[in-house]
């Protein structure tokens, strides 16, 4: 028997000749070449899927190698998609793998593109991208197998528009948010300092030279403390001198000291000058560079009488407490997700640094980052696997914690908290990717009765739990819409062309949105005359047409480009034929997952909100967070934290307030 025959004997026996011959024609999109993606690619190559498009925006990191088995040490820093395709392809010469090194959210991956696949397999690790692919698959009517893992746990869910729930039918946990002022001036927990360091300070020093006052204007509008905002504004402006020094090779060591001086000394002194703020909370202590270095630094913080100090000294009354050079003054509790064992083999970066060591790390990491800027890197943002940035965030968040009397964290813990790290192992990925293929085969075979929502769980008695699928949530803001597409030249097509074209004969009153932007409503049609391009509604974006009375389902229009063979003098846009016929809507309560937006009549898709991937640990602590319902959320950065401008200033009632004697 030949190899080819050998390879296919079993698969044919199981799948039957009909499905098996279809497999080689099947076009599959695999999104993600990480932990699940590598396993999955191997499985679908061996199973005999003929055309595989593999997309991933990441490059390989050393910490991937404990599970992403298509990569070797020599591949570090290469594109995951390219290397994975190279490693897996020789295994089955009959399979065509097309690797793409890109972000799935880029506009060229529009509905047209998604429609060209028979099935989509998600192997992603962040909610934002998972929700995006879900929406695209709903729009393009392509079946999707969705998956996720966390440590020993995992899940696989097959999704088919109108037949099953979509990924967004069940509200996902709300992201953890912090009021701007908690991060910027009144932190009370280690995470506040870490967020400040990675999202704010890194950006100010090493990020784009952007006007950071926008969010302060916004915060002021939302009614946050005006005096505090004014101080923060001044603080932001003063960054330009430090930025300049960091980019100037002649400033050498002094730039780090300058940065330190600004953020840990003068900024804190400025905040202290607002006496009101510190009436009910312990004021921070400005840090002194020289004194920390020569270990003569003394915290001015007053300790309540009759209580022993944190480091176990006998009570000092209100006497100053020396905190310098005292490693392990706090419980050296390791991160809760790591094992509870008496780790004899404790890891290097699980050691708590002293104040002086933190300062030294601050200086060295700032210097390293400055050198990178001077050598041509334009901006540097936090990346958990970039040691320079991790060192910087570790050191600067700990210095800030010291100033505010908050527990310091080890580098190991900071990495997990700042990087939203979820434990990941090969075994879970192997199980999950095996399940994905099974569900994909059922989908292709259209044996919908065999589809299952499968969880890999902890219970030693039932490792896998499989549940039958649920119907779509009638109130889902994603899969209950009627999707259609318009191919057009956005420079020549107006908003009115598209909206009126899609509505056809119907004269019902509608509102028109792009994402959360309102573009038109029954009393305001100025934009109908404008071109789509001038409204920044272009390829890959969606226009939503919402019925004013809420009687019929929302129409969501995906915008694509005119086909290559479209005549130059042809029409500027092509409407779908037939026009979409949105069904009558069942009136009921709106989906609860999306907070109502004042300006919207409909809960718009929420995909600009990024959520913390909930590790069990984070979920636990999230429950203890004092998060009031956000009036408006703004995405702060790629991987997850959302700052919240609270409408109701809750400064006086935060959950942990440091008491002043």
């Amino acid at each position: 028997m030949s190899t080819a025959a050998g390879r296919t004997t079993h698969a044919k026996a199981i799948l039957g000749p009909e499905l098996y011959s279809r497999l080689s024609e099947t076009k599959v999109l695999l999104v993600g070449a990480g932990g699940i993606g590598c396993e999955l690619l191997k499985n679908i190559v061996l199973t005999g899927f003929g055309h595989i498009t593999l997309l991933d925006l990441d490059t390989i990191d050393l910490s991937n190698l404990n599970r992403q088995f298509l990569f070797r040490k020599k591949d570090v820093k290469q594109s995951k998609a390219l290397v994975a395709a190279q490693t897996a392809a020789p295994f089955n010469p009959n399979v065509k793998i097309t690797p793409i090194y890109a972000n799935i959210k880029e506009p060229q991956f529009d509905i047209e593109w998604f429609s060209s696949f028979d099935i989509v397999l998600n192997a992603l690790d962040n909610l934002d991208a998972r929700r995006h692919v879900n929406k695209m698959c709903m729009a393009a009517q392509v079946p999707l197998v969705e998956s996720g893992t966390a440590g020993y746990l995992g899940q696989v869910q097959p999704l088919v528009k109108d037949l099953t729930e979509c990924f967004d039918c069940i509200p996902k946990p709300t992201p953890k948010t912090f009021p701007v002022c908690t991060i910027r001036s009144t932190p009370s927990q280690p995470i506040h300092c870490i967020v400040w360091s990675k999202s704010y300070l890194m950006g100010q020093l090493f990020g784009e030279d952007e006007d950071a006052t926008g969010e302060l204007d916004e915060a002021e509008k939302q009614g946050e403390n005006a005096q505090e905002i004014a101080t923060l504004r001044k603080e932001a402006q003063a960054f330009s001198a430090v930025r300049k020094a960091l980019r100037d090779p002649t400033s050498k060591e002094s730039a780090a000291r300058m940065a330190f001086q600004k953020v840990f000394d003068s900024d804190i002194c400025n905040l202290l000058s607002m006496a009101d703020m510190w009436r009910h909370r312990a004021p921070p202590t400005p840090l002194d560079f020289g004194k920390i270095m020569d270990e003569s630094f003394v915290m001015r913080r007053a300790v309540p009488a009759a209580e022993p100090s944190a480091n176990g000294h006998p009570p000092h009354g209100a006497a100053p407490v020396l905190v310098n050079g005292q490693p392990g003054q706090h419980d050296s509790q390791q991160s809760s997700s790591s094992s509870t064992s008496g780790a004899k083999v404790a890891l290097k970066d699980q050691k708590k640094l002293t104040l002086k060591e933190n300062l030294e790390l601050f200086v060295s990491s700032t210097n390293r980052l400055a050198t990178r800027l001077q050598n041509g890197e334009e901006t540097i943002s936090f990346d958990k696997d970039d040691d320079d940035t991790l060192d910087f965030v570790t050191a600067s968040s700990n210095l800030r914690s010291a100033a505010y009397g908050i527990e310091e964290k080890t580098r190991w813990e900071v990495k997990e908290m700042a990087g939203n790290i979820i434990p990941a192992i090969a075994t879970t990925n192997a199980v999950i990717s095996g399940l994905i293929v099974l569900q994909a085969l059922h989908l292709l075979r259209k044996s919908y009765g065999r589809l299952r929502n499968v969880h890999l769980q902890f219970k030693p008695s039932v490792p896998l739990s499989a549940i039958t699928l649920s119907s779509p949530n009638p109130n889902c803001g994603i899969c209950r819409d009627t999707y259609t597409k318009v191919l057009c030249d956005p420079t020549k097509t107006t908003l009115g062309d598209v909206v009126k074209g899609i509505l056809g004969q119907s004269d019902r009153e509608v509102g028109v949105y792009e994402d959360k932007r309102i573009l038109a409503d029954p009393d305001w049609d100025d934009n109908y005359e404008r071109t789509l391009e001038s409204l920044n509604v272009t390829r890959g974006k969606f226009l939503t047409i919402v019925d004013e009375e809420g009687d019929v389902a929302t129409i969501t229009i995906g915008l694509g480009v005119l086909p290559g063979n479209h005549p130059a003098d042809g029409p500027a846009f092509i409407l779908p034929d037939p026009l979409p016929q949105p069904p009558k809507k069942v009136k009921s309560v709106p989906v609860t997952s999306t907070p109502p937006r004042a300006s919207l009549k409909r809960s718009a898709p929420d995909d600009d909100i990024i959520e913390l991937e909930p590790s069990s640990k984070r979920q636990k602590s999230a429950a203890n967070q004092d998060i009031s319902s956000p009036s408006k959320k703004r995405r702060l950065e790629e991987d997850g934290l959302v700052l919240m401008d609270t409408a109701n200033d809750k400064l006086e009632e935060e959950d942990e307030v440091i008491v002043v004697d």
Partner: protein, 519 residues
């Protein structure tokens, strides 16, 4: 760090000293799951895998990647075209005709240079006959689709001495599979249990009680009052209650309601969340802290009565725990982890200090009951996880099939799982009796019936299962192999690291209907 160092030297030193090495970085995501102790156990493990099948290499892949210390593949066969088509850890057509063990080991070793792999082209049948001590040097043996006669011999041999390696038996055919672990005894300290240890509010230790009693709630300013930790509020409220109720905690439903109302009455302002927390946690006042019902039976273990210096440390520790719990107030040693609660930083730290001091004190008492010296880190770990200890007792492989009555009972209780298992057992039996015939539904049915009491009816699930086996009795499907590889490796890791609770029994898997079950 020396003061004399200039900043440059000092900072470079810190930056590199505190930074993890390549190995830690490689294993970062799993160290967050099982920590350095689990990793060390994994690196000390020696695995023997019998056969270089697709399933075997899938299992091994998931153990080589996280860094198992050593593995040997024992396989005397050569790579066939089928192998080349379904086994990712062979080099396609170019591997055909070469030793399956050697090819698989070579490719698996490429996954992780920290792992030592060895190919053994010996014949397991001969080794079992002539060199049974071969197996003793391994910590765990995995056998995939091993010939039933040899499997029987191997399992009997490994069961014959409790110090012999654990045996993982894995069988698969097409979309069906089952696996089980054969071990005598498996004691787990770090079970990563969901339950949290008691805060002992109902049995407050003296320092905590003193502290709660010493606070003058009425003279506090509003800021201080709204930041008394709920633990302190409850200890105080319970103490006050007991004074008025003959030293008893709230007993009846009405009393409990009254107690909660009293706590809320203590508020100065309506929005004092710490009192809301206290009310929500009030049940802790009448839920008696004692030795948990999962732990108490462990104290009856006969090994505790015949401890010798060479007994496993786990049982020495368990003995000390039993002694500790025998003393009033009949509880497990305290652990110092306090949950988050509404509190000022200062009062929280003070409370933490009280718990810590008491924990240290109780650990000292606990240690005094130990009859052998035990490493301090191990004592800490044991005490910290005492509320989640587990001792599993395993069975010899194949015991279930030796008892027709038991099988029949299982069949009526869980027909789906037992039918699949029975079908796999029947397939093994037919391999012995009819080595040259492809199994038919009739053969498998009669073999299954032979395992059951005469006249037992076979349920419909059984015909479904044998349908699958008849179709693909020897198929080692890549996708089944991948999934099984994940599940088996997961359990092997739990056994090796002695963390988390492994499956207890036989795990049956049906990948057509997508379910797993235990018998």
């Amino acid at each position: 760090m020396h003061d004399s160092q200039d900043i440059e030297t000092a900072t470079t030193a810190v930056a590199t000293e505190g930074r993890p090495d390549d190995k830690t970085r490689r294993y970062d995501r799993q160290l967050r799951l099982w920590a350095a102790t689990g990793q060390a156990a994994l690196e000390n493990a020696r695995l023997l895998v019998i056969s270089g099948s697709a399933t075997s290499t899938s299992i091994l892949k998931n153990l080589v990647l996280p860094g198992v210390g050593h593995f040997t593949i024992l396989d005397h066969t050569e790579v066939t075209p089928e192998d080349a088509g379904n086994n990712f850890f062979l080099e396609g057509p170019s591997s055909i005709g070469k030793s399956r063990a050697e090819e698989a080991v070579r490719l698996l070793c490429e996954l992780n240079e920290g792992v030592v792999g060895k190919a053994d082209t010996g014949n397991v049948a001969e080794i079992l006959d002539k060199n049974p001590s071969y197996f003793e040097s391994f910590s765990l043996v995995i056998a995939h689709n091993l010939h039933p006669v040899l499997l029987d011999k191997l399992s009997t041999l490994l069961w014959s001495d409790p110090t012999y390696p654990i045996l993982a038996v894995v069988n698969s055919a097409g979309f069906l599979a089952e696996f089980s672990l054969q071990f005598h005894e498996h004691a787990i300290i770090e079970s990563h249990s969901d339950t949290t240890p008691s805060l002992r509010i109902d049995k407050a230790f003296p320092a905590l009680l003193e502290y709660a009693k010493s606070l003058d709630f009425s003279s506090m300013d509003s800021m201080e009052h709204s930041h008394i930790p709920y633990v302190v509020i409850l200890v105080r409220a319970l103490e006050d209650w007991k004074k008025q109720h003959d030293g008893k905690s709230p007993q009846t439903y009405d009393q409990k309601k009254e107690f909660k109302a009293k706590i809320l009455d203590m508020k100065l302002k309506i929005d004092e969340e710490n009192f809301d927390e206290a009310e929500a946690q009030a049940y802790r006042c009448w839920t008696e802290t004692n030795v948990p019902s999962d732990i108490a039976p462990l104290f009856d273990d006969p090994q505790l009565d015949s401890l010798s210096p060479t007994s496993p440390l786990f049982f020495h520790l368990l003995y000390a725990l039993k002694k500790f719990a025998a003393q009033p107030p009949h509880v497990l040693p305290l652990t110092s982890t306090l949950p988050d609660m509404k509190a000022s930083t200062a009062s929280y730290i003070h409370l933490q200090r009280l718990y810590k001091d008491q924990t240290t004190e109780e650990k000292r008492t606990f240690t005094s009951f130990l009859q052998v010296p035990v490493d301090d880190d191990l004592v800490d770990s044991f005490v910290k996880n005492a509320h989640g200890l587990k001792v599993l007792r395993g069975k010899k492989w194949g015991l279930l099939d030796a008892s027709p009555e038991q099988l029949a009972e299982k069949l009526s209780m869980s027909p789906r799982e037992t039918s699949t298992h029975l079908a796999m057992s029947a397939l093994r039996a037919s391999t012995i009796k009819h080595p040259d015939i492809r199994p038919t539904a009739e053969i498998l049915t009669s073999e299954a019936k032979a395992l059951l009491p005469p006249g037992t009816e076979l349920p419909e699930e059984f015909s479904n299962a044998i349908g699958e086996l008849v179709r693909a009795p020897t198929a080692d499907l890549p996708n089944t192999a991948a999934l099984l590889g994940g599940l088996v490796a997961q359990e092997v890791i739990k056994m090796i690291t002695k963390q988390y609770i492994p499956i207890d029994g036989c795990c049956v898997i049906d990948l057509i209907e997508t379910w797993t079950g235990m018998i």
